[in-house]
Symmetry: C2
Subunit: 341 residues, 2 copies
């Protein structure tokens, strides 16, 4: 497969700041350059586009080239034959600019795949005009490493499949191409809904994992021990998570914490300790009961701003009924981008 990787990865961040070699193992170069190396070692034709030579030192560039990767500073050149273009580029506008640019150069039917720096759905919306007008053949998918490439933790890729809103941004064949590329390097390929991939693969997956452990704990205690109806337990889960999310949206993390009062929460949550083993609850209570002075002051400085606590999907449905599905699309899209950008 002909593959272009955009962005070699900032080795100063990985090595000096995050101290990956000691903390996680593996060796530099990490990031996009490591992905390129692994693709080349799996037998693919790989070009790595990186205009900022200083991202890697000379020894690391030699490792890249010795693996058979072609290095270029021209995004267009890297795109010209790529069946798969993988963006390991900086967060924000830079990634959008590169993506827009390469839509002009990619061959018929190519896939543009994000990694951790943007959601595939946002990438689709940013490129939508180009894709609909000029390049209906291109697909948007992801090759999200969900760990830093080059660390032993990187044993898999998260691939955005058909989205939960039925928006299709890549064909089955294009999604399969991502799976094939991942598996050819000996990585596990997880296909998840495109719009869910960020929540399970980005840095915030820490929050997702901890939250899900709490959801599972409560679902068990609620339905099996307290024997409350499933609908009631699910409504409580929706309510608590929607409340936290909306307060973070309007008031930031410290405003949310001020509204929720960790001290109170410790007392309330202790009452839900109904089993011998509720490891996540014990850990949560320890954390919330033991906030240091600095954190407490930061919470006290929080400001609770106007928040209309609503069930988001119910509101989206009302909007569609009100405006008609087609007309509501633009609004829903803007509000989706508010979440991801």
């Amino acid at each position: 497969m002909k593959v272009a990787v955009y962005g070699a990865g900032n080795q100063k961040l990985y090595v000096d700041q995050l101290n990956l070699p000691e903390k996680y193992g593996g060796e530099a170069p990490y990031g996009g350059s490591r992905m390129a190396i692994e693709f080349a070692e799996a037998g693919h034709d790989v070009v790595l586009a990186e205009p900022a030579r200083e991202m890697l030192d000379d020894a690391h560039w030699k490792v890249v080239e010795d693996a058979g990767v072609t290095v270029t500073d021209s995004d267009a050149e890297a795109a010209s034959e790529a069946e798969m273009a993988v963006l390991f580029t900086p967060f924000g506008k830079k990634t959008f600019d590169i993506a827009k640019d390469i839509t002009k150069h990619l061959p018929e039917g190519a896939v543009i795949a994000n990694t951790c720096t943007v959601s595939p759905v946002v990438l689709y919306y940013v490129l939508e005009r180009e894709l609909r007008r000029d390049r209906q053949d291109l697909g948007i998918a992801s090759m999200h490493p969900a760990a830093v490439p080059g660390t032993p933790q990187h044993g898999h890729y998260v691939i955005g499949g058909h989205s939960s809103s039925e928006l299709d941004i890549a064909t089955d064949e294009q999604i399969s191409r991502c799976v094939e590329l991942a598996e050819s390097c000996g990585k596990t390929a997880y296909v998840v809904p495109a719009d869910v991939s960020s929540a399970v693969a980005d840095m915030g997956s820490l929050v997702t994992a901890v939250t899900l452990s709490g959801v599972l704990d409560y679902y068990y205690v609620g339905t099996q021990i307290i024997k409350a109806p499933v609908e009631m337990v699910e409504k409580q889960i929706l309510m608590t998570l929607q409340t936290i999310a909306s307060l973070v949206e309007t008031s930031g993390v410290n405003g949310m914490l001020k509204a929720m009062n960790p001290e109170l929460l410790v007392r309330s949550a202790k009452s839900m300790h109904l089993l011998e083993e509720q490891e996540e609850l014990d850990a949560a209570i320890n954390t919330l009961a033991d906030l240091d002075d600095e954190v407490t002051q930061w919470i006290n400085k929080g400001e609770i701003r106007h928040t209309d606590l609503v069930a988001a999907q119910a509101l989206a449905k009302e909007l569609k009924n009100l405006m008609g599905g087609k007309a509501a699309e633009g609004t829903i899209r803007r509000c989706m981008r508010k979440m991801f950008e």
Copy 2:
């Protein structure tokens, strides 16, 4: 203070099913009858309204009456002089019926306070017609025990103050009355926004506590270790929690888990272990990595239904701009009730 408590509490649930005496300590009667006893012992004039005599056995009824509580099966009679009416009544319609009924009988300026079985904001909306038309003097607040009254864990009350949407459903004096009643029994009174009280005081506080510990962990790792911009870290938190909440809303807990793939999440979240001590993350990874066959099958049977992932507050704002604030109120209200009822 003259206080009416509605609902004595189901002792079969507390003692036989939840096994509170052994698990938590304290002694029966638990629940509304224990609240009534404690209010009476603090020197208040207390009436307990309970039409279902079988909720307590004779020995427990004797404890209630020995404390000086007047017992009645008439809701109207209990209301007739109550400055404070506390609803320890069943979930759902029953509570609304009792609340509607007593608005006809309560004296000038009384407060109707929910406990764990309904949110104060929902109670307000259900009673709104009566309150606006006939009884503008009544206030809606809460005396939420956030633990089963009668257990040693019940050292506090959660009181719904001014809401985060600036909807005022009780006066300052009425909120203070709740605080005074709580403190007169030696309990700590926590005043939180009325619309947030359910999330920090109901059964779901287990989920809230665990989630917040994950948010704090990630906020620290994101801003201090990875040194990502605060806005980006907060956006990730919003995105992950809004995604989970919305998937639960459309697809239930197992549909959500199917979309998010716990196995994948374990792998992603492990990469966010960047400190020695991330107790909640360790616990979460243990839980998610060790799902038993039954749970796995239940997740596999989940169905991912149509979900429009949007930032809820952005959508509420768009709706208000579109319809005008006044006209949007009804829609926002309906979508709030979808979350709480």
